[in-house]
Amino acid sequence: MTIDTLTEKIGEYIKETDTFRDEITVTVDRDVIITVCRILKEDEDCSFDFLSDCCGLDRLPETPRFMVVYNLYSLKHKHRVRIKVPLEEADAEIDSATPVWKAANWLERECFDMFGIRFKGHPDLRRIITPPNMEGYPLRKDFPLEGSETK
């Protein structure tokens, strides 16, 4: 996978690209994430049919505060790409990738559980690892390491 191929396929949506240790990272806006995912999955030269991972990032004190990161893999071409989507703290919501890859189901639930990022159109957006009555989001940088006092 090269940046040129990516520019050719999804160039109009790319906000930023970065290459570090031969890994390509592409930043896109949240409004186009599903369009980008579909193109990357269905295009012959990309064919990213395998969603390796989807996770959140908290960049406090930077803004926009959150990032949703998708690590994609292609079983056909054996290559990888990383897609990042910045999200504002006040409006941490993004379209769910479950219509594209079913694998996103639990991964997005975990992301919601840990960061409080909401996924629009997710079939079952509940906490997955922490208990349902948990308050706060553990992987946010302002959540204390020892946890908060329970009432």
Binding site: F20, R21, E23, D53, N71, K102, L107, M114, T130, L139
Partner: protein, 364 residues
Amino acid sequence: MTKKTITLNLGPQHPSTHGVLRVLLELDGEIVVDAKPDIGFLHRGFEKLAEHRTYRQNLVLTDRLDYLAAMSNNFAYVLAVEKLLGIEVPKRAQYIRVALVELQRIASHLFWLGTHAHDLGAMTPLFYALCEREDIMDIFEAISGGRLTPSFMRCGGLAADVDSSFVKNTKKFTDTFSSKVDVYENLLTENPIWKLRTRNVGKMSKEFCINTGISGPMARAAGIEWDLRKSNPYSSYEDFDFAIPTGLQGDVYDCYMMRIKEMRESAKIVRQAVDGLPESDGSPIKAKVNKFPAGEVYHSIESPRGELGFYIVSDGGKSPARLRVRPPSFVNLQGMGELVRGQLLSDVVAIIGMIDIVLAEVDR
């Protein structure tokens, strides 16, 4: 007449769930109508902890992720850190690492084989499988002092070099291992009861596996010829000659065959690694690691359960700004609900076993 279903709690404390997994089953008689796995009982906040510890300290945490394959976790983590640093470890260290993780794969598969057969009512294989696993644990203990959680790898190399006794013990193990696998196969492969319990149970299609993110032996059982050791080689895997077994039907039986065949292949790799072990050139087995650059990397390996990846975001500090684990058990388990639907209650146990979950890795 109205159809009535009952709800049954399988777990969280149930012998077949290998840890603390709770499955909410909706049953119509003996048929499963719906299944909802409930996880998180073993959550220890690994990813949060990792942000508060140095790169070196985090290594110890990785052992505890998947305690049946601690070496593999160490390995995936140090490879990701080394990728961040942009360093390559000496050939000798690479070969030792390969030998160790392949031994670990065998140990993990042996434990799986024993407990899985036990879950389905066959008690004998467990005692046989644990004998050879014990030999591997002894090898680990001799080099690292630890059996279950060796923490033997280091960012930049290994904790120590191995000596001739390691080579001798490992060769002794690989010499006889293939005949031991024949013994397990004698007990199960053509066993009619085993076949009845596993054939055509929990069938997976290729498309299902890819779409659900299922990797490792499960995906190969469904016929996907994909193994990260071959497709994206790391740590000199390209030097070794081994095959990737694939199945056809993706049922419980195929998953069993995959792991049996993988153990044989792993033993071959171990043998090649110790036979071709490059002599030490006198340089230390561990490179000095001081400064961690800012940047982000993702590195994944083929762990005994599938694609185990570490995604590290570094801001240049002593601790990672974010350390994300891509746990194969977690992703593989999410297909379970769909796999058990329409099957018999007793098959649920077979299907949970087929996934080969380690709940400590699922919950982190």
